[in-house]
Symmetry: C2
Subunit: 246 residues, 2 copies
Amino acid sequence: MSREISKDEVEARLRAIGAERYHDKHPFHRMLHDGECNPDQVRAWVINRWAYQAGIPMKDAAFLSRCTDPDMRREWRSRIEDHDGGVHEGGGIRRWLKLAEAVGLNPDYVASGVGVLPATQFAVDAYIRYVRDMPLLQAVASSLTELFAPKIHEERIAGLFKHYDFANPDSMSYFQKRLTEAPKDVAYGLAWVLDHADTEEKAQMACDALTFKTDVLWAQLDALHSAYVVPARIPPGAWQPGQGMA
Amino acid sequence: MSREISKDEVEARLRAIGAERYHDKHPFHRMLHDGECNPDQVRAWVINRWAYQAGIPMKDAAFLSRCTDPDMRREWRSRIEDHDGGVHEGGGIRRWLKLAEAVGLNPDYVASGVGVLPATQFAVDAYIRYVRDMPLLQAVASSLTELFAPKIHEERIAGLFKHYDFANPDSMSYFQKRLTEAPKDVAYGLAWVLDHADTEEKAQMACDALTFKTDVLWAQLDALHSAYVVPARIPPGAWQPGQGMA
């Protein structure tokens, strides 16, 4: 039986969502990459983005917990390994804490999660829940923001090196490493989604999932901008400049 | 065996959380109640707060779904009845849609949930999930923001009548009705929490739950302020002024 919709068409629709809604368009990222963030705004970003990093292996574990295909689980589990690594060398989360140290934060404070904006945590938890509860096609498709990640990581590496003293190969190792990890993950996820989204209805489900995920990312930057960019309104209990310093 | 901590002490701690963190302190509410919101800002509030109203009976159903005590279920189920009502007369959600009509919105648009800020929905969903998954004491304690609701509803009724043409007994019936519903609900919830939070550890759990809930409410107003108050940054896909009008 022929497909109701071509793979090229589905891929084009997915990429159009990134072109329109990926968080590289958010004003906070433009500030960050152009060197317009002050040190406390960079710290607020590091603290809050940590909550997202810390949630990713839990999200991937939620995925494994519902995935009945051992081949797929074998492929997918490398995502957890990438983030957690081994006891000695660590993984992506530990590399993120290198960045925390480089911007003057106490990495234990950052890793405690104290001071994370509630809105950040709600968005991260929404993503974990989505991957655990929604149809498998949508759980996979929600990971496809990685299609757009290498470009933003390249911009970020260049922008941070150019504008900020804290940028060095050690502090930037998280992003450097993602340049090779993300394309490997997304090649598998995209091929799987294109194989399975073979009807108009399923293509729309995949697009809805990717749209949801762009909302998860955008909401985190909105919360950051609202709390820490003038006119700043830091919510009760969230990180205040000066807290959690090394 | 004597209690490790008195009921008065636990109640005082809970009330202190409200005094410090309840969303009556948020600048958006001050704008709203002082007549400083323009019609589109009021509409944005009505659209987004609808998502919260619509989530409340699902939250209460999540509570019933884990509550093993029929007496407690009998007490608690009136919350669902208050919000949903009967087919003909409706309940709190339908009263909310009266307000939507009064501010010029199409109630079907509001009830569709299209245009709700993703951050609002993440916060609402976080609350439903919390009540479903956390220890029962915390599920109950998270409802205790109702302790502080009558005061804000009174301020709101007075402020909206004073400053906005759309306020009339019909459009304000949601708040008017909550003035009698909320105290009945919270009297039961508070007595239950005070009975059960008889150790320092459990008192702290109850306080954590109430703090979480204040975060849920505050995050919704932060998202609203960020999206619709100058300098407004409306996220992709969220309501734009002019959409969904009657």
